[in-house]
Symmetry: C2
Subunit: 215 residues, 2 copies
Amino acid sequence: MEFEQTPRNRVRRIPQRGQYDQATIYAIIDEALICHVAFAVDGQPFVIPTLHARMGDELILHGAKASRLLKHIQAGHPVSVAFTLLDGLVLARSVFHSSMNYRSVVIFGRGRTLEANDEKMAALAVLTEHLAHGRWQEARLPTPQELDATTVVAIAIESASAKLRSGPPNDEAEDYALPVWAGVLPLQLAALPPVPDPQLASGIAAPEYLVHYHR
Amino acid sequence: MEFEQTPRNRVRRIPQRGQYDQATIYAIIDEALICHVAFAVDGQPFVIPTLHARMGDELILHGAKASRLLKHIQAGHPVSVAFTLLDGLVLARSVFHSSMNYRSVVIFGRGRTLEANDEKMAALAVLTEHLAHGRWQEARLPTPQELDATTVVAIAIESASAKLRSGPPNDEAEDYALPVWAGVLPLQLAALPPVPDPQLASGIAAPEYLVHYHR
């Protein structure tokens, strides 16, 4: 399945880096730990980083009942959400052709509030598993009071595009002779060894999904 | 210096995590490799990831002349820009208190176009050095034609706030007895060894600022 190209989602700068197929887009959303949500109030744009997870064809966000962002989404306003994976610095011989390797997605949509407790619990499970696969089975699950204090919204992914760059720099032909190092500095979001809570009871080992964490 | 707290920049959710001093805010902007810029056109929000650098009290962005984002900024519209550093997953005993450790900033402002070539060159130097400190001295600098093809804008940081979380989870008192591992999984944006361009001439070693890269 491909998302339709419209003025809203079309990749304009360097269009050959644009991709519109659902599989590519969903894989980037799923790998990204967090997203950045943009919304506008009376022409003033705002952008907020937040945890997300994908549940089927919807994007799940959650937070406290008082959250301005969530109230805005609940009121039916449009949002745009970016997911960005940095894969490396691209060091060309020239400043002009220096760049980054990345996989990024921008989606557009409007949200609905999850009202039913079973649907909210399912969404919270997906959010928890998005952070650390295996955690939902181990952690103490939300109480009815905690569930009531939490707003969960699902944003239908109406429109989306991905933009990707990979590989070595592309220099001007005459620059390849310059005595300047060129190549890629790979980057990745890396996990260090888990740090136990100072109040952790003795004899509880860090779970496997944290010791060998990767996205 | 502290940024004034207004309805636009005040941290509303968990206000004790909010900070408004310039030193904290600038340090986060400088450490972040990229930012996410939000803008709105006829009520439709957009968000775009891009490279940035700070030059004094202004945020520098650049791109091709045809960039929609840059044209929008050049027209004097307000933008909001987020900078987000992920420091760890916070695994509480309960799903409800699970969180992230992070240092984030959101700024608000409007941009101006850098017109003079010397000011554009100074801004491109800051952008290049933001990516890799030492690169501007080594790489082939922009030609007049390349400079002309590049738009550079400077956004005055009118308003800003930081939001930070650090440290172990904060669980409910009765949950500390649960046999569930709790703590922090530290995260960092890590660089792997530099990968030379397949077309790199022999005898050019990777520079020190890439071999021991860290932000």
